[in-house]
């Protein structure tokens, strides 16, 4: 009964005209950035973060969340029609989606992608409603050692899953921790690594960092590429999948949903990993594995379902523990803090209207996305015809002005440019930006938790191993470091699998 009351409260918040408007705006922008290659949800969220300062925290989070799951929907369009993933979580959709389009089945591919996303998104929200409240009670038992260990585990999982070279991913995480220490020390108030630049007293801004590493670097990388885009000019027809399509896809959608949801919850997991893993599993369980890569509809349905349910699952650690599980959630954490809302176990008690309002808005947003994606596919295709030579200067300008408008500071613009060059070089050297950003966001929290725990234990590290939750997290984290050293495991490590899939 409590659940129904809470949902009723949530819908009463989400259906307010202002919140409905922001939800619509969020999913529209999300779909747009999902469709357009080069501008992902992270850059879009960081860009629009300042725009939310004038509105309520609920409307702000509703819009930013809408951008995230909206981008998951939109990303599939470019994957299917152009063979270019609009954002990273849609990479796997290219493999079979584009092949379906080449065989004249672009309509059913886009249709199953939209319906699969809707089903997965809706079930993911249901999972969020069921899991978040009990997890809050559990999280109330957390102290500094547990928070520290959980954050370490999150970083380990991310580095373990996302890259072939775990050492280099860990290096990037360490660099993120270093960058996170720039600015005033949380405990003593002493300035660290500010080089007498007043703008650095508050630390390096998340927005310039993210826009540089993800936005500008992508543009610089694309300047050297000559990508020929082949867009289907034939009229799209038959967006509704046939009964046979449904029969082949429904279990893939459900498997992708469950898998994506739990990978989304995992600190360090997220939509990208979920889509890769679900595709690999589908190919393994399929009766026709030879059709994968040649236009199997399951190869579109499963990763699209997985990335959407992962997007919902990722909200759980943020809303219950106050720990972002990926870069996008780190952006939302920043937005909540700016609005004076502290995410964590007390959020549900202190701001129930925000928690349930955002959850209910996801249902509304999913319905809006279904309505947006199917009838408006023609419009999104037209957008894809914008030449890169026009698109890139516009993206660059978005990033520059987005960085400037937060503090009206050209220093932030300069920081963003420097981060852009660093991000470009990192991409050249196959260094992952995601562990850097997550460590950068978690760094100050991790430092505070570590120092508080050590002060409490009078300098003894045993405190991290004598408390069961903390010990479990650290043991798993240590296992994740040791496992890649085992030769038999090296070949089977998910990161290596992802890389092989990517190469294929």
């Amino acid at each position: 009964l409590d659940l129904i009351n809470h949902l009723f409260l949530g819908f009463s918040v989400a259906l307010q005209p202002m919140n409905l408007f922001y939800c619509f705006l969020g999913v529209l922008i999300g779909t747009l950035v999902g469709v357009l290659p080069g501008l992902g949800p992270v850059a879009a969220m960081s860009l629009l973060l300042p725009a939310t300062f004038h509105t309520t925290p609920v409307a702000s989070i509703i819009m930013l969340a809408g951008i995230y799951y909206g981008a998951m929907y939109g990303g599939s369009t470019t994957s299917i029609l152009v063979n270019i993933p609009g954002e990273a979580a849609s990479v796997m959709t290219c493999l079979d989606g584009y092949q379906m389009a080449r065989k004249g089945r672009a309509g059913p591919a886009l249709g199953i992608s939209a319906f699969g996303s809707f089903i997965a998104g809706s079930l993911g929200i249901f999972g969020l409603i069921l899991i978040a409240p009990p997890l809050v009670d559990f999280a109330l038992k957390f102290g500094p050692p547990e928070y520290f260990s959980l954050m370490v585990l999150g970083l380990m999982i991310l580095t373990f899953l996302t890259s072939v070279s775990m050492i280099r991913s860990l290096m990037m995480a360490a660099l993120g921790l270093v960058l996170g220490t720039i600015g005033l020390d949380n405990i003593s108030g002493m300035a660290r690594f500010t080089f007498n630049i007043p703008e650095l007293l508050d630390g390096v801004g998340l927005v310039p960092l993210v826009m540089g590493l993800f936005g500008i670097s992508e543009v610089l990388l694309n300047i050297e590429l000559k990508v020929k885009r082949e867009i289907f000019t034939t009229k799209l027809k038959g967006l509704l999948p046939t009964l046979e399509d449904w029969a082949r896809s429904i279990w893939s959608i459900l498997r992708g949903t469950v898998l994506g949801f739990f990978l989304g919850i995992l600190p360090g997991g997220g939509a990208v990993i979920a889509s890769f893993v679900s595709y690999a599993i589908e190919r393994r369980v399929s009766r026709h594995p030879e059709e994968f890569g040649k236009g199997a509809i399951e190869g579109v349905a499963a990763p699209e379902a997985a990335n959407n349910s992962a997007a919902q699952g990722a909200f759980i650690p943020l809303l219950t523990l106050g720990i972002p599980s990926n870069v996008v959630m780190a952006m939302l954490l920043g937005a909540l803090i700016i609005h004076g809302v502290t995410p964590g176990p007390l959020l549900l008690m202190q701001h129930p209207q925000l928690f349930w309002g955002v959850v209910a808005s996801m249902y509304v947003g999913n319905a809006m996305l279904l309505a947006l994606n199917l009838p408006l596919i023609g419009m999104w295709v037209q957008l894809l015809k914008i030449p890169y030579s026009i698109l890139f200067p516009v993206i660059i300008l978005f990033c520059l002005l987005g960085s400037y408008s937060i503090n009206n500071s050209t220093t932030d613009m300069a920081i963003m440019l420097v981060c852009g060059v660093i991000g470009y070089l990192m991409k050249k050297l196959s260094l992952e930006a995601a562990p850097l950003v997550l460590a950068f966001v978690l760094g100050p929290m991790l430092e505070t938790a570590l120092r508080q725990a050590l002060i409490k234990s009078k300098g003894s590290f045993a405190i991290f191993f004598t408390r069961p939750i903390s010990a479990t997290c650290l043991i798993i984290a240590i296992a994740l470091i040791i496992m890649p050293l085992l030769p038999w495991f090296r070949r089977r490590r998910p990161g290596a699998t992802l890389e092989r899939e990517d190469v294929t």
Binding site: S389, I396, Y404
Partner: protein
């Protein structure tokens, strides 16, 4: 030896030494009373150790999974890349002085032309429309304090 990765690891080791030194200058404290330099020192140390491991394993195995130097640095359109970065740096540096409208129109003129040669009238129209679009979005929509510059625009 793949020089790019060798240099990369050496750079990270150098950075880690600087960070550790900075951490010690800030004050490491002790484990039961950590001071502001505690975390920077530890993070710098971890960064350095990881870079050292990568360097040693790379020198032994020659970075087997990585691309060759030629593959990494080939196909880069250096003039375009340097021109783009130069323009962006100049725009950032002069943004407050020349103002949003003038600076943005000039930046876009050069970027649109640099990306792909087009007739000037197309480039000028596109630059003007894009600037107006951004002005409406950021100045009118988001109420950003965009600089007017010496021309007062």
């Amino acid at each position: 030896v793949k020089k790019t990765f060798l240099i990369n690891d050496l750079i990270w080791i150098g950075i880690s030494v600087l960070v550790c030194y900075g951490g010690l200058k800030l004050g490491f404290g002790s484990f039961h009373q950590p001071r502001p330099g505690f975390m920077p020192f530890l993070s710098g140390l971890i960064l350095g150790l990881l870079a050292l491991i990568d360097l040693i394993s790379g020198l032994i195995n020659h970075w087997p999974t990585e691309k060759r130097d030629r593959e990494i640095w080939a196909n880069i359109n250096w003039p375009k890349l340097i021109l783009t970065l130069g323009l962006l740096s100049l725009y950032t540096f002069l943004f407050s002085t020349i103002g949003f409208v003038t600076g943005t129109v000039l930046l876009l003129l050069f970027l649109f032309r640099a990306m792909e040669p087009r007739p000037w009238w197309v480039v000028i129209t596109a630059a003007m429309i894009t600037t107006a679009f951004f002005y409406l979005g950021f100045k009118v929509g988001l109420d950003s304090q965009l600089p007017k510059g010496f021309l007062g625009l």
